[in-house]
Amino acid sequence: MASLDRIKVLVLGDSGVGKSSLVHLLCQNQVLGNPSWTVGCSVDVRVHDYKEGTPEEKTFYIELWDVGGSVGSASSVKSTRAVFYSSVNGIILVHDLTNKKSSQNLYRWSLEALNKDSSPTGVIVTNGDYDREKFAENPVPLLMIGTKFDQIPENKRNDVLTRTAFLSEDFNAEEINLMTGFTDRKRFNFKNLHYD
């Protein structure tokens, strides 16, 4: 077991978007019954067979580090959170499809994690005013997940999907949209992430 490589993936996003539920579902194959506030960071592990069925099959442990809090936290919280951002192999950005602000805040989340920028005032990024170059040469793969898709009324679903498609293009990230009641676990495949 010790010979298996270590893969560390951060799960970032505003409070209440569903990061803890997502991580629990991925690792325990069960829906989280009573989600509560995440204080600090909670880690869970998923065993994954890379390139299953082929001769190069290798089993990995994927550590999902679910970091709690909001982008607007005090600088002391941000500096403490920065401890978790070292040597990251991938980042999952989670946003709530029913709450536009959580999608906008993803810029600041990703900057915080990628730059490990601990300056308190940070970079106040407004809509569309971001540095695309930073994301283009970013070696860390990004995956964007939108939750609570079924809570959006039917007629608005197309608008939401277009908006999030633009968003994930900006990040140069892959995109998945999820329902609140998960049943099908085969939808979550990490084959989109490329390991070094």
């Binding site: 600090g40 960071c41 592990v45 065993v47 442990y61 002391s76 919280v77 709450n99």
Partner: protein
């Protein structure tokens, strides 16, 4: 004619206050959330606008701006509207949004919201019974009944916040209380935190691998069906599941530890930042200010005790008192009327501005601390309710700080309330709040260094 002009001035200022409340809501309170129910924002801004108008009317009273009949009219109008909002509109919407969050009651939202509102009214009415706030000649549905109850709640809130603020302010400003935190302390804690996380990860890896092997070997617990299966699992449980539950317990304990370490690290970082801040100019200025505030705080506690013990309610306000002292003892002659007007205007103005600013800042901090995306609407409405009651009762209490000739309008408009009772009640609650804050801060301060000792 002048009435029309006055009304136009009042309405313009109200619109300005409304706009300010709107902006404050959007930029400060709700900056991390999406506003989906605009009614919440409207209600909040309306409450804010009418509360500020009351303060504005007091200022006009002192300055003698606008004619006195139009002032009186606007006072009454404003008071009715604010009572309407605080007692009917805001509680109803609070009930409505609370009910919308509960899944079971989705069908009959309006009905349940009305039920909640009636419960609120019942308790609100009952609140007035133990207090000697009315003289018996008032009828059941008079305005004094409502104001007196709103006043009691608001005065309690004011005194609680005042007491805590008076103690907390010097504590945070003065660097005397800052614990010594070095960079190595923080680094050591961070290292421990990461080590704990690594331990959690390795244990979880074991659990995951064991579970996977169990699954592959078909030792799934759910396959133990039937009586024999149950007996077998009781007498000799598969060794793997025993191990699993042990490891799971260890993991739970480690996770609890990691949470505590995280919070401690945040605390240390915050202290370190405060230490750095105290070395700057601003920090030093606030430090000196803190010393003055601590003297002021001690004096206030002392005065509150004296008032209660000697059953004394001040008859004259500080402005006239100060002027009397200067005239009689220092022998300086100056125009009493002229100066009393200006000084009381400045004093009342300062009180108003600092209390509005202080309340808004406290509300914002409170909102950030406890709100989530589900409950944000309810919490904002509760804060609007608190804000309205707070402002109404500060008008009530401000009567004491004004010279006699300006008090009459407040007395006239608010009716014959037992104002002395409110001052006494304020002193009592202030004393209780200040003393318990001192106790609380003392305990918190003492406990913290011990936590670091055990490292």
């Amino acid at each position: 004619m002048s009435f029309l002009v006055d009304s136009v001035i009042m309405v313009t200022s109200q619109v300005l206050f409304f706009g300010f409340g709107w902006l404050f809501f959007m930029r400060q309170l709700f900056k991390d959330y999406e506003v989906r129910h605009y009614i919440v924002q409207v209600v909040f801004s309306v409450t804010f606008a009418f509360s500020c108008t009351m303060f504005e009317l007091i200022i006009f009273e002192i300055l003698g701006a606008l004619s006195s009949t139009s002032r009186y009219f606007h006072w009454k109008l404003n008071l009715y509207v604010i009572l309407l909002v605080l007692i009917f509109v805001v509680p109803f919407y609070i009930g409505y949004f609370v009910v919308s969050n509960i899944r079971l009651l989705q069908r009959q939202k309006l009905l349940f919201a009305c039920v909640v509102w009636f419960t609120f009214m019942y308790f609100f009415w009952k609140l007035g019974d133990p207090f000697p706030i009315l003289s018996p000649k008032h009828g059941i549905l008079s305005i004094e009944q409502l104001i007196s109850r709103v006043g009691v709640i608001g005065v309690t809130l004011m005194a609680l916040l005042s007491g805590f603020g008076a103690v907390n302010c010097p504590y945070t400003y003065m660097s005397y209380f800052l614990r010594n935190v070095t960079d190595s302390d923080i680094l050591a804690l961070e290292r421990r935190l990461l080590q704990t996380m690594d331990m959690i990860v390795s244990k979880k890896k074991r659990i995951a691998m064991t579970r996977r092997q169990m699954y592959q070997r078909g030792e799934d617990q759910s396959k133990q069906t039937g009586i024999w299966g149950m007996i077998r699992s009781v007498t000799s449980p598969p060794p793997n599941s025993e191990n699993l539950s042990l490891i799971q317990q260890e993991v739970d304990a480690l996770e609890e530890l990691s949470r505590q370490l995280f919070l401690e690290t945040v605390d240390l970082q915050a202290t370190k930042e405060r230490i750095e801040y105290s070395k700057t100019f601003q920090g030093k200025y606030f430090n000196v200010l803190g010393y003055f505030f601590s003297i002021y705080c001690v004096w206030k506690i002392f005065m509150a005790t004296i008032n209660i013990v000697f059953d004394r309610v001040g008859k004259t306000d500080p402005v006239t008192r100060g002027i009397e002292i200067t005239v009689n003892y220092l022998g300086i002659q100056f125009d009493v009327k002229f100066w009393s007007q200006h000084i009381s205007f400045i004093l009342v103005g300062i009180i108003i501005v600092t209390s509005i600013r202080g309340l808004l800042i406290t509300l914002t901090k409170f909102f950030y601390a406890i709100s989530s995306s589900k409950s944000s609407n309810v919490i904002v409405l509760v804060l609007a309710q608190i804000m309205g009651m707070y402002f109404v009762s500060s008008v009530l209490l401000m009567r004491m700080s004004m010279p006699l000739e300006y008090r009459t309008i407040v007395t006239e408009v608010l009716g014959e309330l037992q104002f002395n009772f409110y001052h006494r009640w304020f002193d009592v609650i202030f004393l209780v709040s200040a003393l318990s804050s001192i106790l609380f801060l003392y305990l918190a301060h003492k406990q913290a260094p011990e936590k670091h000792m055990t490292m």
